[in-house]
Symmetry: C2
Subunit: 426 residues, 2 copies
Amino acid sequence: MTQMDAARKGQITAQMKEVAEKENVSPEFVRAGIEEGTIVIPGNIRHSGLKPIALGKGLKTKVNANIGTSTDFPETKNELVKLDAALKAGADSLMDLSTGGDLDANRRAVISHCPVMVGTVPVYQAMIEAREKYGAVVDLTGDDLFKVIEKHIEDGVDFLTVHCGVTRNVVEILKKEGRVTDIVSRGGAFLAGWMVHHGHENPLYQHYDRLLEMCIEHDVTLSLGDGLRPGCINDASDQSQIAELVVLGELVERARRAGVQVMVEGPGHVPLNEVAANVQMQKSICKGAPFYVLGPLVTDVCPGYDHINASIGGAVAAMTGADFLCYVTPAEHLGLPTAEDVREGVMASRLAGHAADIVQNIPGAKKWDESMSTARKELNWKKQKELALDPEKFDKYRQDRNPEDNEACTMCGEYCALKIIEQYLK
Amino acid sequence: MTQMDAARKGQITAQMKEVAEKENVSPEFVRAGIEEGTIVIPGNIRHSGLKPIALGKGLKTKVNANIGTSTDFPETKNELVKLDAALKAGADSLMDLSTGGDLDANRRAVISHCPVMVGTVPVYQAMIEAREKYGAVVDLTGDDLFKVIEKHIEDGVDFLTVHCGVTRNVVEILKKEGRVTDIVSRGGAFLAGWMVHHGHENPLYQHYDRLLEMCIEHDVTLSLGDGLRPGCINDASDQSQIAELVVLGELVERARRAGVQVMVEGPGHVPLNEVAANVQMQKSICKGAPFYVLGPLVTDVCPGYDHINASIGGAVAAMTGADFLCYVTPAEHLGLPTAEDVREGVMASRLAGHAADIVQNIPGAKKWDESMSTARKELNWKKQKELALDPEKFDKYRQDRNPEDNEACTMCGEYCALKIIEQYLK
C-alpha cells in the first residue's frame, strides 16, 4: 500500500508517525497533508534503510544536494565522498545526476549508501545510452526512455525528475517569444530538441499515464521538472516558463487522481522582486503541491558565490511557501563541485530554509535562535558551538582567532557590549 | 561651502558631477537629492585624495567594510592589509573601529591610505582613553567625548557614527520591556551604562547642536547610530528599538535644519518577514534619510556563515530602500576577521546590493546581468570572467576544475544544455 493509499483510507503509516515526531506535528497533520497532496513522503519500497522525510506545507524547509559524475570526472568513489559531505552537513535528500562512467553502478552505490531520499533524472542516462546505441542522442525512442525509468525505479530511486511539461505547444511559445539563454535544463533542452527533430510530442507527456502506473508499484514520487526554467534574470517569469507551469498544474491533478505523490520543480534565475510571485503562482496553479526550487538565483553575475545568491532567493521563496530547496554550490556555472563546495552549498541552503522556518512559525525554529542568543549573552561558547548550524566551522574560527579561549571574542575584546551592560546596567 | 550649502543654492559641485557620472544619473538629480536629504556625499575637506561616493535614493546600493584593531590584535599593519583587501573586493567605504594599540596613528594611517570615505565611532576611543585617564571607562566626561570627536574630524574622518538616540527615556523603555540580548552595540551599551551610572542625559543628545556645529566646518556627515539595534531575532522591532528610531527621526530634521548631511543606521538581527517593515519605518520616520543597515541578519544560529545571513537580509532591505549595507564577515560573532574574511564579506554584500539594484531599476544594473548571460550562452569564458563579480575567484574555480579549458564546464561536460539547444533547436 502506498503512502497516498493509506492516507486516503485514514491510516497512519509508520513513516507518517516517524516524520511527525521529527517535525513536532501530529501524525494526523501529516496524513491529511498527504491526502490533500500538500505533503509528500518520497520513499521507494526498494530503498532499504531509508529514513523517511516529509516535504510540504507546515513542515520544516528541506534541502537537497546534487551529486554525480561527469564525463571528465567519472569515478563513483568521488561522488560517495560528496555524499558523505552532504549528509554530514545536514542534507535531507540527495540527487544523483551522474553523466559519466558506469551510471548503473554509480546510482546503485549512491542508493545503498544513502539513508535519506534519493532522486534522479533518468533522461540523462537515456540520452547517454542512445548515443552509445545509435550514435546520436536524438535517436532515442520513447521506449528507451521508459526502460531507463523502470531501471531507476527498480533500483530504489525515491523520486524522479521528469520534464513532462515541455510539450510541443510550450516549445512553440518559447520559439516565438525568444530568450537570452533559451533552455538551460539539460533534460528540457534535450526533450525540446528531440520534439523539434522528430515532430512528435514529448513521450513523458504523451505517455504520462504509463509513468504514473510505473510509480505506483514502488510508491515512487514524481518531481515534475521545469525544463524551461529561466537561465537568466532577463528570461524569468516569461510566457514559456508559465506555460510549462500551467501544464504541470494539470499533471499534478492527474498524478493525484492516480494516487501518485507529486511535487513540482521551480526556477532558476529570478529577480528578487518576482520570487514571491513565482511561489504564489506555483501554489495556486499546482493546487498546493510541494514546491522544489533550484535557488532561485537573484542575479547572474556572481560565479563563485552562487551558493550565497541561491540562499537569498531560497530564503524568500521558502518564506513564501517553497518547501524544498535544491542547493547551489560555489562551483555552479564553473565546474563540478568538490566535497568542500557541497558542504558550503548545503549550509547556505539550510541557513536560508531556517530563516524562512522562523517566520513561518515552524515548530522549534524560533526556539533554536533564542537558545543561541541566550548562550551568546552568557558568553557560553560551549553551548554556542553545540547550537551552531555548523559546529565544526564554529570551532575552526574560534580556535584560529582566539587561541586562549577568552571569555569575549577578539572582535570586541574587553569592549564587549554584553560585558559592559553586565557591569553597568544591571 | 558644504555640499548641503551648495545644493541649497542650486549649485552643482565637482563632487556631485563626479558621482553623477559614475551612477549614470544627472548632476541635478544628485543636487536635488542632497537638498532634500535623501542623498549624502560624505567627504571631510581634510581627507585628501578622496574619491567622492554618494549614498541614497535612486543610486546604486553601496557597501561598507569594517576594519580595526582590537586589544588582542593591536597592529596597524594588519588593518592596512584588510583595507587593501576590502578596496580590491570593491568596498565603497571603510570604517575604522579600532580599539587596540595606538588609535590615533591607526586612524591616520587608514585615512591616508584610503581613497574612499572613512567612518569611525569616536566613543570607542573616548572609552579607552577614559579608562587610561581615570581607571574606569564610566568616568568619561561629555567634554572628553567631544574632544575625541574633534580629533577625528580634524584628522579627516568623512562620517561619524554617534549614538545620539540612546536617551534616558529610551533606556527606561528598554529596562521595562526586557530583552534576550539587551544591548549589543558597544557604543550604545556604554552610553546606556554611563547614563544609568551618572543619572545624566546622553551628552551626544544633550549637546547635539554642538556636534552639528563641529560637523559643518569640515563638511562631516553624521551617521546616527542605532545603539539599541536588536542583537537577536527575538528582540527585533521592539519598543526599545523603535523608540530610539523616533528620536533619530527628530535628530535627522535638526541636522538638516543646521545644514549637516545625515544618514541613519539600522539593524541588526531581524526576522526575514520584518526586514521590509524596518526599512519602510526608517524611511517614513526619518523623512527619507539614507539608511545604513548592519546586515540585517535573518537568523542567530549560523556563526561562520553570517556573511550569507547578512546578504539575505541585506538584499531584501536594499530592495525595499536601504541604501548602504555594512558588510558582515564569516568571522562575525566569533572573532576579528582576516583579510580573506574581509574579501568574502564585501563580495556577499555587493552581491546582495546588486540583486536589489536590478529590481530597483538602477541604471546599468540589469544590463550587467544580460551581458553575463549572453557570454554564458556563447560559452565565452573570457568574457564571463571579465563580467564576474569576482574575476579572481572565477579563475580559481575554472582552473581547478577545468584544466584543459574545455568549451563547456565539467559540471555538464558534453551534456551542456546550451550546446544541445545550439545543435538541435536552432
